[in-house]
C-alpha cells in the first residue's frame, strides 16, 4: 500500500502579500494561485524574495499584509506547528541527536500516532525514498543524497496538505542533483501533493515544474509552463534569466517591425510603435548557406568572429552589421560540420518568423 496523498492535496491562494524589512521592500503586492497537486517552482536570483515567500507560507516570517489560503482556509496568522505543511530545508535540518527512524517518526510522535502505526508509516516513507532498512543509522553516517531523502521522507510521512522545498538539491554535486531532480518529480507524480519549490537554477526549474513563477525584486515577472516560459518570455529579465538569449534592438513603425533597414517577418502581431528588443535563442539562429529556404526566414548578414567546437555541438560568435555580437548554437551533424565557416568570413544568419519574440526594451 502506498501513502496516498492525492485526496488531501489542496490549492494555495496567495493574495496581496507585502513584506518589508525596515524601509526595504522584499515582496510587494504579490499574488499567486497554486492548483491542487501542482508542482510550482519559484525561480529567481538571490534577493528576489522567493525564499521569503516560502518562509511566509511555512509561517516562519510574518508578512506585513496579505492573505494565504489553503483550500479556502486562511492561514496567514496560524502558528507554524498547526499549519500541517511539510518542508524540506536547504541544509536538510535533520535532528543530529536522533537516528533516521526517529527523525522520520518525529512528526508522527507530535501527532500522537500509535507506536505500531508509526513503525508502519515510517517504514513506508523510507521505502518510498529508497532508504529501506536504514532506520537505525545515525544522521552523520549518511551521505548527502541519503540525508536529502531522509528530509524528504520526514516532510511527507505525516501526509501534509502542502510540501515546501527550499533549494533542497543545491548542496548536492551535479550528477546526484540531476538524479534527484528526476526522483523528486517521479515522487510528486506518484503522491500528487501540492508542491512549492524554490530554486535559482533555471535548468532545475524547467526539468521539474508544472509551472514556474519567475521572481525578480519582490515581484512575479511571469508565471507559465516551462515550455511557454522558454519560448515566449514576456520580459527582458525572463528572457535573460531562463536560457541564453541574444537581444537585438528593433523598431516598430507603421504596423511592422524593422531591424536597421530590414523589415522582419513575424507570426506574432506587431506590438505598439517604438523601440523593442528581439529575443533570439542561440539554437533558433541558423547558418543560411545558399539562397535556400529564404522564403520563411528573416536574413541578417554578419561576420564570423569565432567558432568553438564542443563535441556534440558548436558555438559560433558573429558580429551583426550594427556591431552587435550574437551567438549561434547548432548540433554537429556532418552536413553542418562540412559547411562550418571560418573566422572573418561573411555569413547570413536566418531566423524563422515564428521564432521571433519581442520584449520591451527597459
Amino acid at each position: 500500500m502506498l501513502l496516498s496523498l492525492a485526496p488531501s492535496a489542496l490549492p494555495i491562494g496567495i493574495h496581496g502579500i507585502e513584506k518589508r524589512f525596515g524601509a526595504v521592500s522584499i515582496l510587494s503586492d504579490l499574488s499567486l494561485d497554486v492548483a491542487a497537486g501542482e508542482f510550482l517552482t519559484l525561480l529567481g536570483p538571490s534577493g528576489s524574495g522567493k525564499t521569503t515567500l516560502l518562509m511566509i507560507l511555512a509561517g516562519f516570517v510574518r508578512a506585513n499584509a496579505g492573505s494565504v489560503k489553503v483550500g479556502g482556509e486562511e492561514i496567514i496568522t496560524m502558528p507554524p506547528h498547526k499549519r500541517n505543511i511539510g518542508m524540506v530545508f536547504q541544509n536538510y535540518a535533520l535532528f543530529p541527536h536522533m537516528n533516521v527512524f526517529h527523525n522520520v517518526a518525529f512528526p508522527l510522535k507530535q501527532r500522537r500516532v500509535s507506536a505500531a502505526d508509526t513503525r508502519e508509516r515510517v517504514a513506508k516513507a523510507l521505502d518510498l525514498v529508497r532508504l529501506q532498512g536504514l532506520g537505525e543509522r545515525r544522521v552523520d553516517q549518511l551521505s548527502g543524497g541519503q540525508r536529502q531523502r531522509v528530509a524528504l521522507a520526514r516532510a511527507i510521512v505525516f501526509e501534509p496538505r502542502i510540501v515546501l522545498m527550499d533549494e533542497p538539491l543545491s548542496a548536492l554535486d551535479k550528477g546526484l542533483r540531476e538524479h534527484m531532480q528526476i526522483e523528486l518529480r517521479t515522487l510528486h507524480r506518484r503522491l500528487g501533493m501540492t508542491t512549492v519549490y524554490v530554486t535559482h537554477d533555471q535548468r532545475e526549474a524547467i526539468t521539474m515544474s508544472d509551472r514556474i513563477a519567475v521572481m525578480n525584486a519582490g515581484r512575479i515577472e511571469q508565471i507559465d509552463q516551462p515550455e511557454a516560459l522558454y519560448a515566449r518570455p514576456k520580459t527582458k529579465f525572463v528572457a535573460g534569466f531562463i536560457g541564453e538569449s541574444n537581444f537585438i534592438p528593433v523598431e516598430c513603425r507603421n504596423g511592422s517591425v524593422w531591424y536597421e533597414d530590414r523589415k522582419l517577418r513575424m507570426n506574432d502581431p506587431a506590438p505598439s510603435a517604438g523601440r523593442h528588443l528581439m529575443v533570439v535563442r542561440p539554437e533558433t539562429l541558423r547558418l543560411v548557406t545558399d539562397a535556400e529556404q529564404a522564403g520563411a526566414l528573416n536574413m541578417l548578414p554578419a561576420i564570423v568572429g569565432d567558432v568553438i567546437y564542443q563535441g556534440d555541438s558548436f558555438i559560433c560568435y558573429a558580429t551583426l552589421q550594427d556591431g552587435r555580437q550574437v551567438t549561434l548554437r547548432d548540433y554537429c551533424r556532418s552536413d553542418v560540420l562540412a559547411k562550418l565557416p571560418a573566422p572573418g568570413e561573411p555569413i547570413t544568419l536566418g531566423i524563422d518568423a515564428q521564432d521571433i519574440v519581442l520584449v520591451a526594451d527597459q
Binding site: F60, F95, P107, R138
Partner: protein
C-alpha cells in the same frame, strides 16, 4: 644512489625500490624534527605537572616523624572530621552546580536568542565580574548578605520579615557567593554550544508539528546538552578545590577540602597530611571526570561528531 637517476642500487634491486632508503631517512629526519619542536612543551608538562604531582604523592607517604607510613591515608577512615569535610565539600559542590545550572541555563538561552549586538553587550556583563578579584567579590557579598547588610535591612524596612535572615557565615552564604563566581564557567561553554544549534532544526521541529515548548524540549535542550555537560563538569571540579569564598562566607562553619589542606600545612605544619589530602582530592576529581565522561560523553560525542 642519487635522486633522479634510474638505476639499480648496490644490491642490484630494480627500480621498484628507487630512492626507498633516501625516502625512509627523510621520513625519520622529519619525525625527529617534529619531536625537537615538541620538546619545550613536553618539558613544561613534565616540569609543572608530572614532577609536582609525583612530589606531592611522595610527601604524602611520610608521617610527621619522617617515617615511611600510610598514617596520612589511614586518617581518612579514622577521623570523623575528615569524613564530615568530605561530605560538606560534595554537598557544596552539588548545591553550587545545581544553582549555577538553574540560573545559568536560562541566562545562556536568553543570550543565544538575542541579536548579535545585544548579545555581545550582555556577554560583557557576564565576563566583567569574571575579571574582578574573587576576594573583592566575596567581600562584596558579605556586605550585601550579612545580618545588617543590604538584603536584610531592605526586607526588614519593607516589612517582609521581622528578624534578619541568616544569609552569611553559613552554608547558604557559601552557596550564594560561589554560585556567583562559578556562573561564567557554566554560561560561557553553554552559550557557545547553544549558538551552534541550527535555527533551521528548530524551524523544522515546528514545521513538523511540535509546539514551541515541545520543540525546546525535544530538540533545543538535547542539542544544548554537550555544552551543559562541559559547563557542569568545569563548575563541579572547580567547586571541589575552592578555598577563598567558603573560607570567608562560611564563617568557619563550612569546612571544605581545600581549607582542611590549608589547616594541615600552615597551622599544623604537617606536610604529609596536606599532601595526602591533595592526592585524595585529585584522585576523586579524576574518578568523577571519568564518571561524567562515561555518563554524558557517549551522548555528547554522538552529537558533536555529526557536525
Amino acid at each position: 644512489m642519487s635522486i633522479g637517476s634510474v638505476s639499480l642500487d648496490r644490491a642490484g634491486r630494480p627500480d621498484a625500490v628507487l630512492n626507498a632508503d633516501a625516502l625512509r631517512a627523510d621520513a625519520r629526519r622529519q619525525a625527529l624534527g617534529l619531536l625537537a619542536l615538541l620538546s619545550p612543551g613536553l618539558f613544561l608538562v613534565f616540569a609543572v605537572i608530572i614532577v609536582p604531582i609525583g612530589w606531592l604523592f611522595w610527601l604524602s607517604l611520610f608521617d610527621q616523624t619522617g617515617q615511611l607510613s600510610l598514617a596520612n591515608y589511614a586518617r581518612f577512615f579514622e577521623q570523623a572530621s575528615y569524613i564530615r569535610t568530605f561530605a560538606t565539600t560534595f554537598k557544596v559542590a552539588f548545591a553550587v552546580t545545581g544553582a549555577s545550572v538553574l540560573f545559568g541555563y536560562p541566562l545562556a538561552y536568553m543570550l543565544s536568542q538575542l541579536p548579535r549586538r545585544a548579545a555581545s553587550i550582555c556577554l560583557i556583563f557576564v565576563i566583567l565580574p569574571f575579571w574582578t578579584s574573587v576576594l573583592v567579590r566575596t567581600y562584596a557579598w558579605l556586605v550585601i548578605l550579612q545580618r545588617r547588610g543590604l538584603v536584610n535591612s531592605w526586607l526588614i524596612d519593607l516589612g517582609v520579615i521581622g528578624q534578619p535572615l541568616p544569609l552569611a557565615n553559613n552554608f547558604a552564604g557559601v552557596v550564594i557567593g560561589m554560585t556567583h563566581i562559578m556562573l561564567p564557567f557554566l554560561v560561557l561553554p553553554l552559550y557557545a554550544s547553544m549558538k551552534t544549534i541550527d535555527v533551521d532544526c528548530l524551524r523544522a521541529g515546528m514545521n513538523l508539528g511540535a509546539s514551541p515548548a515541545a520543540t525546546f524540549r525535544q530538540i533545543f535542550f538535547p542539542l544544548s546538552q554537550p555544552g551543559l555537560a562541559s559547563g557542569v563538569v568545569i563548575v563541579f571540579v572547580l567547586c571541589l578545590g575552592f578555598f577563598v569564598t567558603p573560607a570567608l562566607m562560611g564563617g568557619g562553619k563550612v569546612i571544605m577540602w581545600a581549607m582542611r589542606i590549608e589547616q594541615a600545612t600552615s597551622l599544623y605544619s604537617n606536610w604529609g597530611a596536606g599532601a595526602a589530602l591533595g592526592v585524595v582530592l585529585l584522585a576523586v576529581t579524576l574518578a568523577l571526570l571519568g564518571l561524567f565522561q562515561w555518563l554524558l560523553g557517549a551522548r555528547a560525542t554522538g552529537v558533536w561528531s555529526s557536525r
